[in-house]
């Protein structure tokens, strides 16, 4: 291959006896031409099939050359003057291409290497995108086999613009641009748009490119017929734009969110974004429940019982009394088919063929579908956020990440910026301090002491949690019996249980915080995780006991004190939600406002309290769990939750703005968000859906109220309907049996779960393979770097040897360098994309 010739120049020409430098120029040019042709017509593809092979030969030669004929002293000669460069005192790992070492010509070439020009030069960017578009084009057009070739031959296709010889760099830029335009035209409209938008070029250039691309397209289009498919696509894109910009303009809370992020950065912002996400879930639930359950029932109200209580005001807190016979609760919904001329005295399944609405069925399927869709959305967002925050490549580069990524461009307030830079400074110092070898005194004793403290703290937390749970267990039993005795006379006493639970939820986290403070964790992230898991333990066990109380005790209660247990549970959940909200308000008032005033006025401290993101998010998750639990028993509970979240947003927002300051500790936003979404999905949503499913599956609904009265379980509503259908219409009987098979047979579930597990297993295996490839590629890059270093040293030595003819030689060597370089970036690219 012609390219291998380059190496010979460093040596006495006799050895290979090939072209003179003048010829070499020619080779270079013709090569360039070849590149131009290559990227313009893809038919010539197979000429490059030998590319990789030739390359390998070349590499071999290269190696021989390194080991046989490279004079080792060229490296050693440089050793003495190494000390002059302060950087290198720190070890041999930085034996880099320090610019100061090189002559100006070498520097010129160094700076024109593609890996460096890409960061600043427009021509280089255009040429990079030229290749990208070409790749995309091929991917869209051709079989997968071709793609392999396009990858392996990319280094040779890539045209290089050399700024060192400025004579024709401009014209080369132009041809590059033509190629890019050409490539762009051959892409579909949406691809082209995406490509153009993703280019890091200035708008003027992009505009020109777009114009050129569409101009030529018009010419070609006038001759060929208009592609109606792409036209349709364009229409869709246009309408999507208007639609998305409409949605964007309606973006909620844009200004307050910007203010928060401008002052506190992304950490605190993530709390409010999470709140917004929850709000979205509740709005969805509310809409579904409203349209399919509440609205039909409100339009055709059932008979109101005679002894309806009047509105007293306490209902807002307890949810009982006046509210109990409204669309708010399960008990109000009727168990018949709604249609226009319904005669309520017959109360039978109607056979009249009018547009009718089967309430029990609607209830059953609305709840089922709402949970199903919520589940899908949750799992989807969870997987997406996992993909973003946990990359497979887990190599250790914490300082680089800290330096490059820690600046929060959202922060705009002057004081906050000052705080931010102080924080970054201390964090960097801490990290650097950790790097230094530690002189620990008596590490074993120290470790033992720590272990003891951790054990004690955990023991205390578990004991206190267990105590609280047992307390709630007996107290709920006691209150239940008390209420039974007194009758429903004292509504206010119903509030005792929710107040107790909320009090526990308020006080115990403080205790946990204290424990964590005593334990004195070194790593802040461990501290956060320990705090989280303790709080989670508390909340899950409290909710578990409550669920047992509702579904185990009240639902199966034989006495007729509670006529409609579903409505009662709904009311309980309403009370919990409201009391939780009130306690959150109190916490905000006392924990944030009064504490701030106290520390400000009395302690005369400058520092304001920090906003505890993790605790607040956990509170939100707890509230949401209550709302999900209660949907079955009180279809309008999402509306209450929406109101609560809206109020909470404004209250928290003003409290944060007034009382708090940006957290001092670094907060890993995306990782924490992932954890919170996982928590929302796993114990919260899954737990509540298990409870709801259990209630629907195996608890007997109350006899005298609700859509499922007179049925054995709620599930039977669907079954009954199926039976009815099969009786009315014989051809539908397979459907009924399919329903029986799918819903009632556990085998289906097992098979589904099995397939799911197998898919997960395969994915984890693929991941493992990719990890291996990444390490291989990283090694490869390192080798390429060594090669580059070597070549540049050679270049420099030649330059020093042949000063008079230096100019020519550097040019030649640089072509060689560049041939080496793109391959490097090629592999590099695939390693990052993998």
């Amino acid at each position: 291959m012609a390219r291998s010739v380059n190496f010979d120049l460093n040596h006495p020409l006799i050895e290979y006896g090939l072209e003179s430098p003048a010829d070499e120029e020619g080779v270079h040019d013709s090569f360039n031409q070849l590149i131009a042709e290559q990227s313009q017509n893809e038919e010539m593809f197979d000429t490059f099939d030998q590319g990789p092979l030739g390359r390998r030969e070349l590499d071999k030669e290269h190696q021989d050359f390194v080991y046989t004929s490279s004079p080792p002293h060229t490296f050693r000669e440089r050793e003495p003057d190494r000390g002059e460069y302060e950087l290198e005192e720190y070890g041999e790992q930085t034996d880099p291409l320090i610019p100061e070492r090189w002559s100006s010509d070498t520097l010129k070439i160094l700076s024109s290497m593609p890996s460096r020009t890409i960061g600043r030069n427009r021509g280089a960017i255009i040429s990079q995108y030229c290749n990208k578009t070409l790749q995309l084009r091929r991917r869209r057009q051709s079989k997968p086999a071709d793609r392999v070739f396009s990858r392996s031959s990319r280094p040779s296709i890539r045209a290089y613009d050399l700024e060192a010889d400025t004579t024709d760099s401009e014209s080369r830029d132009l041809t590059k641009q033509d190629q890019l335009v050409n490539n762009l035209q051959n892409l579909s409209a949406s691809d082209r748009e995406r490509m153009l938008r993703g280019m890091p070029l200035c708008l003027t250039v992009k505009k020109k490119l777009r114009e050129l691309a569409s101009q030529k397209e018009k010419q070609t289009r006038s001759s060929s017929r208009i592609n109606c498919c792409s036209h349709f696509k364009l229409c869709i894109i246009k309408s999507w734009y208007t639609w998305s910009s409409f949605i964007h303009s309606r973006q909620m809370w844009k200004v307050p969110l910007k203010r928060v992020s401008g002052r506190f950065g992304t950490g605190v912002l993530s709390y409010f974004l999470f709140l917004k996400t929850l709000l979205f879930f509740n709005v969805f639930l509310f809409l579904v429940m409203g349209t399919f359950l509440v609205l039909p029932q409100a339009v055709y109200p059932p008979e109101v019982p005679a002894n309806r209580r009047s509105f007293s005001g306490l209902e807002l807190l307890t949810g009982a009394g006046y509210f109990s016979d409204t669309v708010m609760y399960y008990g109000y919904y009727c168990n018949y088919t709604l249609h226009r001329n319904y005669n309520s005295s017959t109360q039978a399944w109607s056979t009249v063929k009018l547009p009718s609405y089967n309430m029990p069925l609607a209830y059953f399927f609305t709840i089922g579908m709402a949970f199903f869709i919520t589940c899908i959305i949750l799992v989807y967002s969870m997987s997406k956020s996992f993909g973003q925050s946990f990359r497979i490549d887990k190599s250790y580069s914490i300082l680089a990440i800290k330096t490059f990524c820690s600046w929060d461009f959202r922060v705009i307030k002057k004081n906050s910026i000052k705080l931010l830079s102080e924080n970054i400074c201390t964090q960097l110092k801490e990290l650097l301090g950790e790097l230094k070898p530690k002189h620990g005194r008596n590490p074993w004793l120290e470790r033992l002491r720590r272990l003891m403290v951790h054990c004690l703290a955990w023991l205390m937390c578990v004991a206190v949690t267990t105590g609280c749970v047992i307390g709630i267990y007996y107290f709920s039993d006691y209150m239940h019996i008390e209420n039974q005795k007194q009758g429903a006379a004292q509504e206010a006493s119903l509030l005792a249980l929710p107040v107790l639970v909320s009090l526990i939820n308020l006080l115990l986290p403080g205790l946990f915080n204290f424990a964590a403070w005593v334990e004195d964790y070194i790593s802040p992230s461990v501290r956060t995780y320990v705090g989280l898991s303790r709080n989670l333990m508390l909340k899950v066990s409290v909710l578990g006991v409550l669920c047992y109380h509702w579904l185990g005790r009240i639902a199966t209660d034989g006495t007729d004190y509670i006529k409609c247990w579903e409505s009662f549970v709904g009311q309980e959940l309403y009370r919990f939600l409201i009391v939780d909200f009130i306690f959150t308000l109190l916490d905000t008032l006392f924990g944030e406002l009064l504490w701030r005033l106290f520390s400000d006025k009395i302690l005369k401290r400058q520092r304001k309290p920090e906003f505890d993101i993790a605790k607040n998010v956990l509170d939100l998750i707890y509230g949401q769990t209550l709302a999900w639990l209660g949907v079955l028993f009180s279809p309008l509970l999402p509306a209450v939750q929406i109101l609560k979240l809206l109020l909470l947003f404004y209250i928290k927002m003003s409290s944060v703005m007034m009382n708090c300051q940006a957290p001092r500790r670094p907060y890993r936003v995306s990782q924490m968000t992932t954890i919170f979404i996982t928590l929302l999905c796993f114990p919260s949503f899954l737990g509540s859906s298990v409870c709801v499913t259990y209630a629907m599956w195996s608890i007997k609904p109350s006899e005298s109220c609700g859509p499922f009265r007179r049925l054995q379980t709620m599930l039977k509503a669907g079954k009954q309907w199926m039976k009815q259908l099969a009786e009315e219409n014989a051809s539908l009987s397979p459907l009924a049996s399919a329903h029986a098979y799918l819903v009632e047979n556990p085998l289906f579930l097992f098979v589904g779960a099995g397939i799911f597990l197998i898919v997960i297993y395969f994915h984890s295996q693929v991941l493992d393979g990719q990890r291996k490839i990444i390490t291989l590629l990283q090694e490869h890059i390192k080798n390429e770097g060594e090669d580059k270093k070597f070549l540049i040293t050679r270049l420099q030595s030649i330059h020093e040897q042949k000063r008079p003819s230096a100019r020519k030689l550097t040019n030649q060597d640089s072509t060689e360098l560049q041939e080496d370089k793109p391959q490097f970036s090629n592999y590099y690219g695939s390693s990052t994309s993998g």
Partner: protein
């Protein structure tokens, strides 16, 4: 916004929408803010440049330690004074917008951090970057004691290079930079400027 939006004709608007990551509303808002920055003579003529100092008076950029670099990177001015036309301004907002891809964001972040414009992050660039990050601006001039000490700085930069310089050429080039960025999921959410 009626008067300002009439100056931006519809074709331009849709073209901007197509070529940037901004939505229509954002472009209109940018237009409004940009015309506010223009001097009286320039008013409404969008290809005229607004000097860097004017751009820096925007509250979003006012206290940002990188504001000078940001303007220089996005400026298409030939005498490199960091002045912006409306299209440059849109470029800036597009790169810092919500929907911009991580490639675009990391590319521009790299150029912002590349203080000497040589296409790689060398020792000097990293030093300047760390200084920008750690020393509040009003203290930058009088003493360097507030930031890292000389020793710490050296060690920090050596470590950064050690971690991110994969091909070991002593500088961090664009692909290496993007590699580091891709491992920090928080970057996308924090590299944002919203008008």
């Amino acid at each position: 916004m009626g008067t300002t939006s009439s100056q931006l004709n519809k074709n331009d608007l849709s073209e901007y929408q197509e070529l940037t990551f901004l939505t229509k509303q954002e472009i209109l808002l940018a237009h409004k803010r940009f015309t506010e920055l223009q001097s009286k003579e320039q008013k409404g003529v969008l290809h005229l440049r607004v000097p860097m100092e004017k751009i820096h008076s925007l509250p979003e950029l006012k206290s940002n330690p990188f504001r000078k670099r940001i303007c220089q990177v996005f400026s298409t001015s030939e005498d490199k004074d960091g002045s912006l036309t409306f299209e440059d301004f849109l470029d800036l907002l597009s790169a810092f917008s919500d929907s911009a891809t991580i490639e675009i964001k990391s590319h521009y972040a790299f150029r912002i951090f590349d203080f000497d414009d040589d296409g790689t992050l060398g020792y000097g660039d990293l030093e300047k970057l760390v200084n920008c990050l750690t020393i509040p601006e009003d203290k930058q001039k009088d003493t360097e004691e507030t930031g890292l000490t000389r020793e710490e700085m050296k060690q920090l930069i050596t470590n950064i290079l050690d971690e991110s310089d994969i091909d070991k050429d002593g500088t961090v080039n664009l692909s290496e930079f993007q590699h580091v960025i891709s491992r920090s999921p928080d970057f996308v959410s924090s590299f944002k400027i919203v008008l």
